[in-house]
């Protein structure tokens, strides 16, 4: 965990319209780690995520692998950050394989039916990791919600970017698929990727993350290992809740219980 920082934010600040959405966000994260970005609705989590990969302009400094984000061309950013937005929609009934192949877009492989071998292999790896090889020729609109979430994660994995930013990838999934998606992202982290996941699920955060970043009204309230960052005081202060805390098979368990 105390490896060299790979993604560094220093005093990141985002103003949307005339509203200060993110203020003075500073942290540094190493590769091979999974970070949960937690906070109440409207705390600025999605905005921070977008700012980190340059989808929206931000003040302050973001460095990735010692390069300033602002100096990287759009293509290069796309190769370094794989971004999974909220709600993961696919607008046309494309075959699953073509959706996953879009992950190779930043590498110049823009046509799924003419992938260079190197890119085709990356797509194959991503589909194997997410266990969707059998679905490759099905239309993405015709498969189940759980299968679709795996396909979308596969699209993000296919980028083979050093950083994955996922915005509520487990929202609207049943418990089994929530765990499945988190497991896939955890595996990516164990394979050396830097993963940041926005989630409202304190239980999943506590179980799968190395670090929790808690946001409140645009500021970072706490940053640290989940068991500490999600302390009873923080939960009461940030969310206004009291949670059951325990341990199961050596992993911390946090279950929201009552309003504080």
């Amino acid at each position: 965990m105390n490896a060299t920082p790979y993604l560094v934010a220093e005093g990141v600040q985002v103003i949307l319209g005339d509203r200060l959405v993110v203020t003075d966000a500073s942290f540094s994260l190493p590769r091979g780690s999974l970070t949960a970005l937690i906070g109440p609705n409207g705390a600025g989590k999605t905005t921070l995520l977008r700012a980190l990969c340059g989808l929206i302009p931000a003040a302050g400094i973001v460095r990735i692998d010692n390069d300033m984000l602002e100096n990287l061309p759009v293509r290069e950013r796309a190769r370094r950050f794989a971004y999974l937005p909220q709600g993961h929609v696919v607008h046309w009934p494309l075959p699953v394989r073509d959706v996953v192949a879009l992950g190779r877009f930043p590498h110049g492989a823009t046509d799924p039916s003419r992938l260079p071998p190197h890119d085709a292999e990356a797509v194959e790896r991503a589909m194997q990791a997410t266990d969707i090889v059998a679905l490759a020729d099905r239309r993405v609109t015709e498969i189940s919600g759980g299968e679709r979430s795996r396909a979308i994660v596969a699209r993000v994995l296919a980028v083979e970017a050093p950083v994955i930013l996922a915005d509520e990838p487990t929202a609207s999934l049943d418990p089994r698929h929530q765990i499945e998606v988190m497991r896939l992202l955890r595996d990516a982290a164990d394979g050396g990727t830097l993963v940041i996941v926005v989630t409202h699920d304190l239980g999943l955060a506590a179980r799968f993350a190395d670090t929790a970043i808690v946001m409140q009204a645009g500021r970072l309230a706490t940053v640290g290992p989940p068991a500490q960052a999600l302390s009873p005081d923080t939960l009461a202060d940030v969310f206004g809740i009291d949670a059951f805390r325990g341990e199961w098979k050596g992993e911390p368990v946090i279950v929201p219980w009552t309003t504080a």
Binding site: V74, Y83, L102, F105, P106, R155
Partner: protein
């Protein structure tokens, strides 16, 4: 790998079939008229052989008309496919967004203000500017990630405004003949077009089509939404401008020489989408070919349908296109209802 090869094969076969169809319709268009000519005679005349009268009919009277039908149909089909790709919506089309109407207004105003006559290059430029303003305005009003309903309402408002402005121009026309001239031209027709008209429009149409084609892969990334496309390295703001510019060049130049021809941009991509496995990038070329085939066929039909007055091709495409549009609305009504809620 066989999977990829098969897919590439079907898409190539589709393009070849469509190209043959367009070629046949093109030859038929050269053969049909007051003097009917057999395909062999047409080919002979095109090659500069055969009876001089036939050569004149084919090469000077009918060839510009057929070339315009081909180019305009193609660019309308392509524009429809590109707009649908940009907006991720099967109901997007230039004519629903008021582009041809606005282009027509710009052209009519240019003529009636005496700035230019119908044979001047000012006319296509004015029409292109009109089309650009309308599509730009539409996307500004509707904003990012606009719902279908919002887009169609904004389009309706823009085309109504353009229609009213055109009506005013006709109302204020110096004499009834001028008004009639404008009205007939607005109906959309390819009759009596010369190579001057081809020269006026074809360069703009080709630049517009080329602009749209350069963006084809971006439409594929847009399948995942604007945010994902941007995170994949697509400059969405730039893409929007290029698509608006390409559509405006194509539609504006088409309107400047042929008047408003509607619904080809809606119908052509719709027919082709299932045949390209819904890939928004691979949709472009087949949509252009289908658009060309549709307009060539419609322009043949207006010459074949017996009637005392000439039916204008724009009227025919609207008569066929509007029921088709209604059918699409019925099919997409859930998406439309979602826009309301």
């Amino acid at each position: 790998m066989t999977h990829e090869l098969r897919k590439r094969g079907t898409s190539l076969a589709l393009v070849l079939v469509l190209a043959s169809l367009v070629t046949l319709l093109f030859l038929a268009s050269l053969g049909i008229g007051p003097v009917r000519l057999a395909p062999s005679v047409v080919v002979e005349a095109l090659a500069g052989a055969g009876i001089p009268e036939h050569q004149i009919i084919v090469r000077e009277i009918r060839l510009p008309r057929a070339v315009l039908a081909l180019a305009i149909g193609a660019v309308l089909g392509l524009s429809g496919a590109a707009l649908q790709g940009l907006l991720r919506n099967p109901l997007a089309a230039p004519s629903l967004f008021g582009a041809p109407q606005t282009a027509a207004f710009a052209a009519v105003a240019t003529i009636s203000l005496g700035i230019a006559d119908v044979r001047s290059f000012v006319l296509p430029v004015a029409a292109i500017v009109g089309a650009f303003v309308s599509v730009f305005l539409l996307l500004m009003v509707a904003g990012r990630n606009a719902s279908l309903l919002l887009l169609i309402l904004a389009g309706l408002a823009i085309s109504s405004l353009a229609g009213a402005a055109t009506a005013l121009t006709m109302n204020l026309a110096p004499n009834p003949f001028a008004a009639l001239e404008i009205a007939f031209w607005l109906l959309g027709s390819l009759e009596d077009r010369s190579f001057r008209h081809v020269a006026l429009s074809l360069p703009f149409i080709m630049v517009g089509a080329a602009l749209l084609m350069t963006q084809r892969h971006a439409f594929r990334a847009l399948s995942l939404g604007e945010e994902s496309a941007q995170s994949l390295g697509v400059d969405v703001a730039r893409l929007r401008l290029i698509v608006i510019g390409g559509v405006a060049l194509g539609v504006g130049a088409a309107v400047a020489v042929a008047g408003t021809i509607s619904f080809i941009g809606l119908v052509a991509p719709h027919l082709m989408r299932p045949l390209v496995r819904h890939d928004p990038a691979r949709l472009l070329v087949p949509s252009a070919l289908t658009g060309a085939a549709l307009l060539l066929a419609a322009d043949i039909a207006v010459r074949v349908i017996p009637s005392t007055t000439d039916i204008k091709v724009g009227v025919l495409t609207a008569l066929i296109g509007v029921p088709f549009f209604l059918y699409l609305i019925v099919r997409e009504r859930r998406a439309l209802g979602g826009g309301l809620g």
